[in-house]
């Protein structure tokens, strides 16, 4: 008897997984709309990726290969523990190779390698509501979405322009999905926002604490909010490159050496960085 045999397959009971899958289907049917669901208890604290884990557990099957990343890294504590937990309850194959993965659970990054039709990217979402920053009441934000009353979030962007001369929102940059709902793309850097637009893969967003699931189906329009005369801008890494692989077109983490005082940059997506280095060595 393996350890996995002590648990129901993928930990959750079959009824729970069905309910989450039904919710997911509704979310796919209404791109960008936050669908409430009965978030289950897990052996992990809410706020530590329980929304993403429940989506992963409801979807994973024996044929799947799972990759879990945390801020781009395959080896961080959150990613390693989630992988261990899912492996323990499913015996699923685990990989760090983006190409091989069928399911990718991510905390706050989209891999640099473009995903294809056979892949699903699952985001862990702390605050699914893009309007929360301007309106604390849930019943009001629901009405605002229903009536497409998004003026306050535009005002937030304008205020940023007036105060700082540019839009300074670094992550959770709001975007419009299929010209209908404004969506919080989870705390991915705005560098990743354009990857949501007309992507080949399915993006799923799970917020366990807030009990919401939403989705961006393949080939969906996702447009980051921008004024007509102030275009959307991603982080600019001009003149910088990864110190390990030399990439200049990826999202770079800024590192600081306390002893030498040196600043350097490194790919946030560790598996992509490794792949570039491996290809260079061949």
């Amino acid at each position: 008897m393996t350890q996995a045999d002590h648990y129901n397959y993928a930990f959750l009971d079959e009824g729970s997984k069905r309910e989450i899958r039904r919710t997911t289907l509704k979310a796919i049917a209404i791109p960008g709309y936050q669908v409430p669901f009965g978030s289950r208890e897990l052996p992990i604290g809410r706020g530590w990726g329980t929304g993403g884990i429940q989506l992963t557990l409801s979807l994973i099957g024996p044929e799947d290969t799972l990759k879990v990343i945390d801020q781009g890294s395959d080896e961080s504590v959150n990613a390693v523990n989630i992988k261990k937990f899912i492996r323990l309850t499913t015996n699923a194959d685990i990989t760090t190779d983006t190409h091989k993965a069928t399911l990718i659970q991510s905390r706050h990054r989209i891999p640099e390698i473009p995903l294809d039709e056979n892949q699903i990217l699952i985001f862990q979402v702390p605050i699914p509501e893009p309007l929360r920053i301007v309106e604390p009441r849930e019943e009001v934000t629901k009405k605002m979405h229903a009536e497409k009353d998004y003026a306050p979030i535009w005002l937030q962007l304008y205020e940023s322009l007036i105060r700082y001369g540019k839009v300074t929102i670094p992550t959770e940059y709001p975007c419009t999905v299929e010209n209908r709902y404004i969506m919080n793309p989870s705390p991915i850097p705005k560098f990743d926002n354009p990857k949501l637009h007309q992507a080949k893969c399915l993006y799923l967003f799970g917020a366990g604490r807030e009990k919401k699931i939403y989705a961006v189906p393949p080939y969906t329009d996702v447009v980051s909010l921008a004024f007509d005369d102030v275009p959307f801008e991603r982080e600019n890494f001009t003149g910088k490159c990864c110190r390990l692989c030399g990439s200049t077109n990826t999202y770079l983490d800024e590192m600081y050496d306390g002893e030498t005082g040196e600043r350097f940059y490194q790919c946030s997506d560790t598996s992509y960085c490794k792949e570039v280095r491996a290809n260079a060595n061949h």
Binding site: L155, Y158, I162, F227
Partner: protein, 277 residues
Amino acid sequence: MPITEKPVLQVKHLTVRYGKGCPLCGEHLEKNRCTVCGTVWAANDISLEVYPGEVLGIVGESGSGKSTMMQSLYFDLQPTSGEAFLSDYHEGTKNIWDASAAEKRTIKNCIMGMVYQNPVMGLRMEYSAASNIAEKLIAAGNREAGAMTERAKELLSAVEILTSRMGEAPKHFSGGMQQRVQISKALANNPAILLLDEVTTGLDLSVQAKVLDLIRRIKAEYGISILLVSHDHAVIRMLADRTIVMLDGKIIESGLTDQILEDPQQAYTQQLVHSLL
């Protein structure tokens, strides 16, 4: 006013009631409260009309229903019954209180402008003065940041606030400046009618004078219709073409401002006017 002219705003039988009401309400009112069922009639069967370019003054003691009427018109509270028509909304054929939430937002942002007695109610104190003006423009569908900034500059200059301070939050401004930012915000989309609720109350005399000058200038330059609520008869005398007097939620007298202030017909109006002159 010429009788043929179409009113910008027409209010018919506006009633705002707190309580269920009873068959005896009409006969047993003590001030505006029913002694039988305790229902308060904050506004009781109010009808009025405001014509293009006209300033209609509303006077009355505290609790007479002036602000209740203004708040009903600006959708801050839903009236119990009554109708209101705006010439710019379905050409005055549809009751604004029956409008959908989206239509009400359009009316608030594009057809009407409101200046509250307390600037906290009308401004986002944490946002910059420019953003407060842009809020109205964004709500009206504007998505050009440069054009909105130019409009904010224009309006802030018109109310004599330095454009160099447009990036500052109104919470750092004086009471008079806050009131002027509110006025510029209310004017952002060139509304057909401006609702001014006790805009000079609480301001010192020199600031009051500035705000009144500004309103007079707006009236002359923009030709906007104004519904002006004030306790201060000097304000009414200076600005209003016609005046209505309210008491206990009802209109008890109306007429040309000079007529109301010089030759009041009702005992209450006489008392009100003489107590202040």
